[in-house]
Symmetry: C2
Subunit: 245 residues, 2 copies
Amino acid sequence: MITLQSRPIVVDPRSGVGPCGHCDARSYSVCNAIPDEDMVRLAGVAVVTEVAAGSTFIEESEPAHSFFNITRGTAKLFKLLPDGRRQITGFASVGHFLGLAVSDTYAFSAEAIEPVRFCRFPRARLRLLLDDFPAMEKRLLEVAANELVAAQEQMLLLGRKTARERMASFLAMQSRQGVSCRHPRTRFPLPMTRSDIADYLGLTIETVSRTLTRFRSEGLIEIPCQSEVTILNRRALESLAGGLA
Amino acid sequence: MITLQSRPIVVDPRSGVGPCGHCDARSYSVCNAIPDEDMVRLAGVAVVTEVAAGSTFIEESEPAHSFFNITRGTAKLFKLLPDGRRQITGFASVGHFLGLAVSDTYAFSAEAIEPVRFCRFPRARLRLLLDDFPAMEKRLLEVAANELVAAQEQMLLLGRKTARERMASFLAMQSRQGVSCRHPRTRFPLPMTRSDIADYLGLTIETVSRTLTRFRSEGLIEIPCQSEVTILNRRALESLAGGLA
DNA sequence: CGGTCACTTGATCGTCTTCAATACCAGTGG
DNA sequence: CCACTGGTATTGAAGACGATCAAGTGACCG
């Protein structure tokens, strides 16, 4: 695949359930479908790895040997056209699962935008494991179904929304990201660059920048620093995101 | 949900395996994961229905009571913005499965573009059935994973491709549709209207029409009748679709 | 300092949209 | 047979939104 600047995580071997047992991400992840007593087997299959920001740890059209389960940080998933045009199809953070595809090659690339830690499962071995844990398979199906819904929402955004509506949708989405998925935050970080935002929304960095400054001048948001946003008028932003004026 | 102009399909009760046993679509569908002797149970849960072209049989944000499995015809799946802007997220034909989402409401609407026949499964009962047929669940996961890959491809199209590239991608895709998924056809039907194509590609009908006539004048395609296309220069079309020149 | 990198801001340009007119076809009824 | 209608597709002209090109700012760093 790729040369990773990765370092395997050292785990205390005395721990009863192995690394997966006390994994920070477990409660978010598909792994929570597996009962404690079986975590040892899961841990035996997983290789925990950490990569630096900017490191590409999945490359489109390379043989898909592994599934990945993000346990820390955020990665961008993207596809490229031969001339370099890029579409970011999503941002994967804690709990996200990558590499579900049936195909034997990856359908997208993944690059860390912050230091990322993930569990890597060889596909063949995970497949066997899934036979023993139908609950985990069920969970995977749920996850895939949810991603499908999100993908359709993104198609609506890319195909039919204006630049302002896209940006508003993005901010509304980001405010719900992370711990606070139920209670959206008014102030929150944007870990990705303007260029990433642009490639996610099907725009250019200039349009992203201009739209943000216009939102600010309209009193919709504040930009305390480049990588942070405060929402001042959520109602207006949400209705913009929904396509109303 | 919606008032369907539907008529239940009469099935010969003497058939050992019920309607599902000799279903035309079985070989394409998720149902082929189920062994013959269990088809009776599957058939007991399914309601076969046929709707006319133009009939909307799934409506976005309505309670999601059923799963659907298309066994004949083609439907368009779409999302709407309040002001009527529409994004078609896909065309579902024989073998496609609709309504996977975890949410208790549908995330999209579905409308038949030709007469459509489908099997309807109450979600609650199918869920129980899946517990007994892990093979079918596995198959669903495969299907979902494939759709996810297709969705990402479509995001690339919507976010980054030009009108010409979108149209070329669409024609290349359609030529692979249906029976001939391995051997693409040079002449094939376009069962959907220009308006549907436009809403699928994030364009307007005018741009779709103009692009098609330009392809024709460039000798890439022929348009024997409005709803049919012949590819004259597949190489050029495919490379356009891929984003090269 | 000079360098790079990410972002912002301005001016111009082009692709696709919008608006509008026309063509086409099937169905209906005089 | 022809006029009338409604829906769909094509074609042309004008306009707009976002892209492109270009310059400038600020932060960080060797």
